[in-house]
C-alpha cells in the first residue's frame, strides 16, 4: 500500500496522456479534480493487485463522453459518487475496492477522485493499459465478466442502473443516454471479485504512468532526448520523426476520424506516413505498407518536449515523433483482436504487430 501525492499526480497526468495513444482527453481537468478531491478528503491509498483479497468487492469507474465538452461544462463533483452509491445499493453489498477502467488520458484521474471521495482503496491496475473509445473494449470482456449492472449519473443528479445483455450493449445504452445528459456522464460498473480483478487487469498502471511522466520530466531537465527515453521505457520502437503535412478530419458513423499525413525527417527524410485516427490513433502506414495498428499503442509526441500530442491537437506544422509500444499480450490473442483489432474500427485488414 502506498499513497500518491500531488507531485506524483503531475507525472501521472503526463504519463497517462502518453498512454492515451492520441486519445483519452487531456488529463489537465482530471488532475485539478483529483487535487480538489485530495484537498477535501485526504490522500488516496493505492494497493497493488497482490494486496487485493480474493473475496474483495471491486468496481470500476470512468468518465464517458466528450472531453471537449467536459473542459467547458466542468463536473458537479458528486456524479461519480452518485453512480457508485446506485451500484452499491443494487449490489446489496459494500464495495471494498475501486479499479480504473482506462489509464490513458483523463480517465486516469476519475477513479482517483472517486477513491478519495468514498474513502476506498484504489487498485494499481486497469482494464486497457491505454485508451480505447468504447466500454466493451476492456480485458474483462475477454474473461466474460459483465459490465452490468452498471450505474451512470450526470451533473443534474440523474442516474440509472442498467442490466445489459453484453458489454457492447452496455456501451450502446450509456452512449445514447449520455448525449441526452449533455455529453458527459460518470460510470461505475464491472462489479467483480478481487480474484477476478487479478485475472482481467493490467498491473501497475499508475506506476507505469508515473514513471513515464518522470522520464519526460527528467529528460527535459537534462535537455536530453525525451522521445527516445519514452520509447525505451515502453519497450517500444520509434517509427519516425517528422512534420504534419495535412490533417483531414471528418465524422463517420458517429466517430471523429482523422487522416494525418506526416513527412519524415532525418533517417525517414522523403517518406510520407499516414496516421489514421478515430479518437485514438488506429493505424500508421508508410507509402507501401502498414507499420503498426491497434491494439498496439501508436503514440505521437511533441519532438522537442516529449509531451503527448492528441489527435485533436495535431495540425499542420506540428513536429511530432511517432512511436509504437506493445499492448498487453492478451489484446493480441484471437479473442482480444475480436474486440479491439483493426477490423473493430472498420479497417479491412488484420493486426500488424510492430514490436
Amino acid at each position: 500500500m502506498r499513497q500518491i501525492d500531488l507531485d506524483e499526480l503531475e507525472d501521472i497526468a503526463v504519463g497517462a496522456g502518453i498512454l492515451g495513444a492520441g486519445g483519452g482527453g487531456d488529463p489537465y481537468i482530471g488532475k485539478l479534480l483529483a487535487k480538489a478531491a485530495v484537498a477535501e478528503h485526504g490522500p488516496v491509498k493505492v494497493v497493488d493487485l497482490e494486496e487485493v483479497p480474493g473475496d474483495a468487492v471491486v468496481v470500476s469507474a470512468a468518465m464517458l463522453g466528450a472531453p471537449t465538452v467536459m473542459v467547458e461544462k466542468l463536473p458537479r463533483g458528486d456524479e461519480i459518487v452518485k453512480a457508485f452509491s446506485l451500484l452499491e445499493r443494487r449490489l446489496g453489498t459494500e464495495v471494498t475496492h475501486i479499479v480504473p477502467l482506462e489509464i490513458g488520458g483523463l480517465n486516469s484521474m476519475m477513479p482517483f477522485c472517486l477513491a478519495a471521495k468514498v474513502g476506498k482503496p484504489l487498485i494499481d491496475a486497469d482494464f486497457m493499459g491505454r485508451a480505447f473509445p468504447e466500454v466493451q473494449m476492456v480485458l474483462p470482456t475477454l474473461s466474460g465478466i459483465s459490465a452490468s449492472p452498471m450505474a451512470f449519473a450526470d451533473d443534474k443528479g440523474n442516474g440509472a442502473v442498467i442490466e445489459a445483455v453484453d458489454n457492447k450493449w452496455a456501451e450502446r445504452i450509456v452512449r445514447a443516454s449520455l448525449v441526452e445528459m449533455g455529453c458527459v456522464t460518470m460510470i461505475v460498473g464491472f462489479p467483480m471479485t478481487g480474484r477476478q480483478a487479478r485475472e482481467c487487469t493490467i498491473p501497475e498502471c499508475y506506476r507505469t504512468a508515473s514513471d513515464l511522466g518522470s522520464v519526460v520530466r527528467r529528460a527535459r531537465a537534462k535537455h536530453s532526448d525525451a522521445v527516445a527515453a519514452v520509447t525505451e521505457h515502453l519497450n517500444g520502437r520509434e517509427l519516425f520523426r517528422g512534420k504534419v503535412l495535412d490533417v483531414n478530419r471528418r465524422t463517420e458513423r458517429g466517430f471523429a476520424r482523422a487522416e494525418i499525413k506526416i513527412t519524415g525527417f532525418g533517417e525517414s527524410a522523403g517518406q510520407v506516413f499516414t496516421l489514421r485516427s478515430q479518437n485514438e490513433h488506429i493505424v500508421i502506414s508508410d507509402e507501401s505498407q502498414i507499420l503498426a495498428s491497434v491494439p498496439d499503442l501508436i503514440i505521437t509526441l511533441d519532438s522537442e518536449s516529449g509531451e503527448p500530442v492528441t489527435t485533436e491537437e495535431l495540425q499542420y506544422g506540428f513536429r511530432v515523433s511517432c512511436l509504437v509500444a506493445p499492448c498487453d499480450d492478451r489484446w493480441r490473442s484471437e479473442g482480444g483482436l475480436a474486440v479491439v483489432g483493426p477490423r473493430q474500427f472498420g479497417y479491412d485488414h488484420d493486426y500488424v504487430p510492430a514490436v
Partner: protein
C-alpha cells in the same frame, strides 16, 4: 494620414503613414506617464508629417495592462460570478491561481444556477432571486468589478446578458465583464481571462482617458483605436470594457508591420533582437494563431487568440562559446552589447562579432575581431542559420518555399539565403515595425461555437450561419461592410459523441471606414 504608436516596456515608437508610405518615424524611451509619452510622440510626428486635421485615425499598441497583471499591481478586487449549477461546482472560479494574483483580486466567488449544454439546452434556468442575493453581497462588500461566466456562453451568451442586467440593476456602479466577449470554449481558461479583465476596469478607464487627453491636446479629432492580440483593432469604448484583449498584441503588430514592409501576405517573419529571435508565420496577411491556445498570463491559464511565435535564444548579443548545447547562446550580453562586444571594445565574443569577423556587417571597430578564431565564427553563423531555418520550416504552413522578412537589429546574423525560403527581405523602417503594424491594422469579428447538427440544421447551414455572425461582428467593430472577408473557417467534430456536434470557428476581417471613404 494615420498615426500608429507602440508603447512598449522599453521604447515608445510611432509612425505617420499615408497610402502605404511612411511619412515620419519616432523612437523614444517609454515614460512612466503613458499620456505624456503619447503626446510627445504625436507632436514630434506631426511636426514632420503635417497638420493634425489630416489625421484620419490613431492606432495605439500598449503593454500597459499586461505589465499591471504581471506585477499584480493596480488591480481591482473582483466578484467572480459563474452560471453553471448544478454542473461545474467541483472546480470553482480562481482554481489553480498563483497566490499573488489571487490576493490581488480577492476571494469573492459566486457559483449560481444556469448555463447551457453543448447543444443549447439549459443546464438549469437562471435564478433571479439567487442573483439578487449575490448582487446584495457584492454591493455590501463594495466590489466594483464583476466577472460573469456562463457555461457554453461562446455558443449562447443570452444568460450572461440577462444576469448582467440583474446585477447592474442592483450594483449600478459595477463594471461587468462577460466571458463571451473575452474567450472561447474552455470554461476555466475563459473565466480566468474574464476575471483578469474585470480586475483591470479602473486602469482601463484611466488609460483610455489618458489616450483621449493626449490626442485631444495634440489637436487631433480623429477616432482612436487600440491593437488586440490577433493583430486587429478595437475602439476605445471597447478597450475600456475589455482591456484584456490588448494582451500579446506586440508580436502580432510586429509581424504585420514586417509583412507590410516586405509586401507579402504569406511569409515568415524573423525578428532578431539582442537576446532572442521571435519567429512567426503570416497567413493571408494575419499571424497564424497558436494551436494549443493555452497561454499563461502571470501564471494564470487563459485561452487567448495568440500568434504562434517560437522564440530562440539567438540575438546580436548572444555569447559565442564552445561547450554548450549550441555554439551561440542562450546567454546574452543583452542591452550591454554596446559595451561588452569585441567590436565595441569589450571582452566578450558575441554573435555580432562573428558577423563582423566574417564580413557580414561593418559595425564598431572591425579590426578588433581580426584575431578571433575565424573557423569558430563561421561555425557560429552556420549554427544560427541552421537553427533559424529549422524553426521557420517547423512553422511553415505549406511545403512551398516562402519569403522571410527579417527585422530587428540582429538581422545581420543571417546570410542572404536560407534553405526552404525563397528570399530574405530586410526592409527599411524595420525598427518601428510594431508601430507600422498598429497603423495598418484592420478590424475583425470571430465566432467559435458548437453547433448541434440535425435535419433542421445541416453542416452547410451551420457554417453559413457562423460566417454571417462573424461578418456582422466585424461590421459592429467598425469595418466597412463591403470590405469584410472571411479569412478563416475551421470545423471540428467532437470526439467520443455521435456525429451531431460540430465546433465551427470563423474569422472575418474588414478595413476601417476611414480607408475606404
Amino acid at each position: 494620414m494615420r498615426i500608429g504608436i507602440d508603447v512598449g516596456g522599453t521604447n515608445t515608437d510611432a509612425v505617420a503613414m499615408q497610402a502605404g508610405t511612411v511619412l515620419a518615424e519616432y523612437k523614444h524611451s517609454t515614460t512612466p506617464d503613458i499620456s505624456s509619452g503619447i503626446f510627445s510622440a504625436l507632436t514630434s510626428i506631426l511636426a514632420e508629417a503635417g497638420d493634425p486635421g489630416q489625421v484620419t485615425a490613431v492606432m495605439i499598441g500598449t503593454t500597459h495592462f499586461t505589465n499591471a497583471v504581471a506585477q499584480a499591481r493596480d488591480l481591482l478586487p473582483v466578484a467572480a460570478v459563474r452560471l453553471g449549477l448544478p454542473a461545474t461546482k467541483e472546480l470553482p472560479p480562481l482554481t489553480a491561481w498563483p497566490a499573488a494574483l489571487h490576493r490581488a483580486v480577492g476571494d469573492n466567488v459566486y457559483v449560481c444556477s444556469g448555463g447551457h449544454e453543448f447543444d443549447g439546452r439549459e443546464i438549469a434556468p437562471l435564478d433571479r432571486d439567487e442573483l439578487k442575493r449575490v448582487a446584495e453581497d457584492i454591493a455590501a462588500k463594495r466590489i466594483r468589478a464583476i466577472a460573469l461566466t456562463s457555461v457554453f456562453s461562446p455558443t449562447n451568451d443570452e444568460m450572461e446578458h440577462e444576469a448582467a442586467e440583474i446585477l447592474k440593476g442592483l450594483v449600478p456602479d459595477a463594471a461587468i465583464s462577460l466571458s463571451s466577449e473575452v474567450g472561447r470554449l474552455g470554461l476555466l481558461e475563459r473565466e480566468n481571462a474574464t476575471i483578469i479583465n474585470a480586475s483591470l476596469a479602473d486602469l482601463a478607464v484611466q488609460a483610455t482617458e489618458g489616450f483621449r487627453q493626449a490626442i485631444q491636446e495634440a489637436g487631433i479629432s480623429a477616432p482612436v483605436y487600440v491593437s488586440q492580440n490577433d493583430g486587429t483593432l478595437m475602439n476605445l469604448e471597447y478597450v475600456e470594457r475589455y482591456p484584456v484583449n490588448t494582451f500579446a498584441s506586440g508580436p502580432a503588430n510586429s509581424m504585420r508591420g514586417a509583412a507590410f514592409l516586405s509586401g507579402s501576405d504569406d511569409c515568415a517573419v524573423v525578428d532578431i533582437g539582442g537576446t532572442t529571435s521571435d519567429i512567426g508565420i503570416l497567413q493571408g496577411g494575419f499571424p497564424r494563431e497558436a494551436g494549443k491556445a493555452i497561454v499563461s498570463i502571470g501564471g494564470v491559464r487563459t485561452n487567448f487568440r495568440m500568434p504562434d511565435v517560437l522564440s530562440l535564444a539567438i540575438g546580436g548579443g548572444s555569447i559565442v562559446a564552445e561547450g554548450g548545447e549550441h555554439l551561440v547562446g542562450p546567454t546574452s550580453v543583452g542591452y550591454r552589447l554596446a559595451k561588452r562586444a569585441l567590436v565595441f571594445g569589450g571582452d566578450t565574443f558575441t554573435a555580432t562579432d562573428a558577423a563582423v569577423a566574417m564580413g557580414r556587417a561593418d559595425i564598431g571597430r572591425p579590426e578588433n575581431v581580426d584575431r578571433v578564431d575565424k573557423a569558430l565564427a563561421e561555425r557560429a553563423l552556420a549554427s544560427i542559420s541552421t537553427r533559424i531555418a529549422d524553426t521557420v520550416d517547423r512553422m511553415k504552413v505549406s511545403a512551398a518555399e516562402i519569403p522571410a522578412v527579417v527585422v530587428g537589429g540582429g538581422g545581420i546574423l543571417l546570410p542572404d539565403t536560407l534553405p526552404g525560403l525563397s528570399k530574405l527581405v530586410r526592409p527599411d523602417h524595420f525598427a518601428v515595425a510594431n508601430a507600422i503594424g498598429a497603423t495598418i491594422a484592420q478590424v475583425s469579428g470571430t465566432v467559435d461555437q458548437l453547433f448541434s447538427i440535425d435535419s433542421h440544421l445541416t453542416r452547410e447551414r451551420a457554417v453559413a450561419r457562423a460566417t454571417e455572425m462573424a461578418a456582422q461582428r466585424a461590421v459592429d467593430a467598425g469595418a466597412a461592410a463591403d470590405t469584410v472577408e472571411i479569412v478563416d473557417v475551421e470545423e471540428r467534430a467532437l470526439a467520443y459523441v455521435p456525429g451531431n456536434a460540430l465546433r465551427i470557428r470563423v474569422k472575418a476581417v474588414g478595413s476601417l471606414l476611414d480607408e475606404t471613404s
